[in-house]
Symmetry: C2
Subunit: 358 residues, 2 copies
């Protein structure tokens, strides 16, 4: 029997609910494939702030680092929204990503045939959308120095951040993206703002230089403003997208909404070595927390990504993916993806239905 | 008779075609309201590069500065896409905005009942969308220093830009936005990334502080990633949006595509004093340039904005707006907004139809 240590970080809002459901599914899929998991649950975000006064406690970080993979729920909530920056739940996520060195954030966005009507896009535009956004996650304006707010020589307050990319940071995320595209439909679109930003000029230059190593991948470039349009005009044109941290933040949320089911979308954050971080794309949804209304499928599918990308256990991953499709085919729907003719279920019941098919 | 000097900057691609049509409409609307225009046409962008070797010639800049208002076509094209940065057509636009000090970029995005089916969004989602994006245009990461590409101490290339906002820059754009919202439906949404960026923390703080001066305006805040989602999920929730230069670039293009007719959307860029800059949101579309296929309505509507915001001539502006609706009601459509049952026309014929109704 193979054994793995999994760090569970439920976090805030609906985090605990969806993690508890996804944990059961993960355990079941693993045990059917001869895997044994040792789960360690640790506080993070607002929950940790309330408990011990910091958003990312030392113990949580070191448990995460020592694990084989990390499954995270969601972070943040109204309650802490006016905290000083260093006491904000979101900072835990930013620092966790940095300290785990998970520079490559994979965000699939596809429209399932079962859910095509959940999109606000017309059926013929949404149908068949299947893209992967590769977002750089540990660099750029999220981390660049100098940053801050200060009073300048005229006594006026100024706020500033630094968009910064070193060649090796661009190269390593570009390689992940080329490899990803190669395993998909062989098309890679690099998104930047090279007509204005110097950092983007370097980005485009480095990505272009790597293309010759991947002759089987067709590389194109697009400005970020155009990409934001094209995602709505004709999302099917995209296979794999690679972009920097902030553009990836914006475009992946936009893309997720195109699928009409942000409650369905998982993500994987990977480094060169060490444990990967797996989490749903959605937030902590404090308005429905604790009401058994949350859609657990994004977290369940994140557990599938954990198996596939984090542990290399493709068979167990496939079990989960198939079980999710099964539950959808049987007509089970949480509120966010409900349409007439289907069966409305809560978070727990959806989890049980998936569990039955694992 | 009132006289005005209008600088016409046709630029590249379809720019000359749409400007020539819009000029006629402007002249006609003006003369019916007792206005006389003295037009001065000057090269800019790629056209200027080819002609005199710089994208923004001195003569063009000074003609623009001495005018009462500027009508610009479009800038850029494949031909110059691999130029060094200082020889890129787009730089002309960036420098023109900066030198004219037009810090407030107004970008309306509304779905006309006549064109609701041109949107890729479902009818019930697109119908009735009517928002105004107020984008800061002369600050932020577009202009912040330091910027560049250099080799660091390890011999590695690094690229960097600076997102920078001083309090007064935020205050003045926020005031324009509050005033704009006040004249519309009284709702202002400020978009930032205050959970990560220090510049956004200052942004949010300054905008919030001004709110008490506009008690009739309802202010809300939204993170940029969420805004990119909400624009697709439910664009009708927005009235006026205010945001920084780069987020405004991305979100206004996204919003324009929601209306399904980027060929319809005008923009106005205004400073404290001095001439305003009026231009369609769309680009130079080199693929259809010179084929009489371009939609001139965005530029015609930019001429209407020029009359209204640039010269304070609301009556003449209204003539143009009404004439555009008239041409649409009669079923005239350029290719980009064509749907069966309507009359497909070229750029010139569309211009003539509008002219008839001015
Ligand atoms: C919560 C926030 C800091 C985070 C980010 O901006 O990266 C989130 O939006 C995301 O995309 O995971
Ligand atoms: C052409 C480009 C430099 C410009 C910008 O980024 O501002 C354009 O995208 C716009 O929005 O007007």
């Amino acid at each position: 029997k193979k054994r793995f240590n999994i760090a569970l970080l439920p976090g805030d809002g609906i985090g605990p609910e969806v993690i508890s459901v996804a944990k059961n599914v993960l355990q079941q899929a693993g045990s059917l494939e001869g895997l044994e998991f040792n789960f360690q649950e640790m506080p993070i975000g607002g929950a940790a702030l309330d408990l011990v006064g910091v958003a990312l406690p030392e113990e949580t970080l070191s448990a995460a680092k020592q694990s084989d993979a990390i499954l995270l729920g969601a972070i943040g909530g109204y309650k802490w929204d006016n905290n000083e920056k260093h006491l904000r739940p979101e900072m835990a996520l930013i620092y966790l990503r940095r300290d785990l060195k998970v520079f490559a954030n994979l965000r699939p966005a596809s429209v399932l045939p079962q859910l095509v009507d959940a999109s606000t896009l017309k059926r013929e535009v949404a149908e068949g959308v299947d893209m992967m956004i590769v977002r750089e996650l540990t660099g750029g304006i999220y981390f660049g120095e100098p940053r801050g707010i200060k009073t300048n020589e005229n006594g006026e307050e100024v706020g500033f951040n630094t968009e910064f990319y070193a060649a090796h940071e661009i190269d390593r995320i570009a390689r992940v993206a080329f490899e990803t595209a190669r395993k998909r439909r062989g098309k890679l679109c690099s998104v930047d703002k090279a007509n204005v930003l110097d950092a983007s000029v370097l980005w485009r230059r480095r990505v272009t230089a790597l293309a010759s190593e991947y002759p089987d991948v067709e590389l194109s470039h697009m400005y970020v403003d155009n990409a934001a349009m094209q995602l709505i005009r004709d999302p099917k044109q995209f296979d794999t997208i690679v972009t920097n941290n902030i553009f990836g933040d914006i475009l992946s949320d936009e893309a997720s909404m195109i699928t009409g089911s942000i409650g369905m979308l998982p993500s994987a954050s990977l480094g060169v070595s060490g444990p990967g971080l797996f989490e749903p794309i959605h937030g902590s949804a404090p308005d429905i927390a604790g009401q058994d209304k949350a859609n657990p499928l994004a977290t369940i599918l994140s557990a599938a990504m954990l198996l596939k990308y984090g542990l290399g256990e493709e068979k167990a991953a496939k079990r989960i993916e198939d079980a999710v499709l099964d539950a959808l085919n049987k007509g089970f729907r949480t509120g966010d993806i409900y349409s007439p003719g289907n069966k409305l279920v809560g978070c727990k019941e959806m989890g049980e239905e998936v569990l039955k098919s694992v």
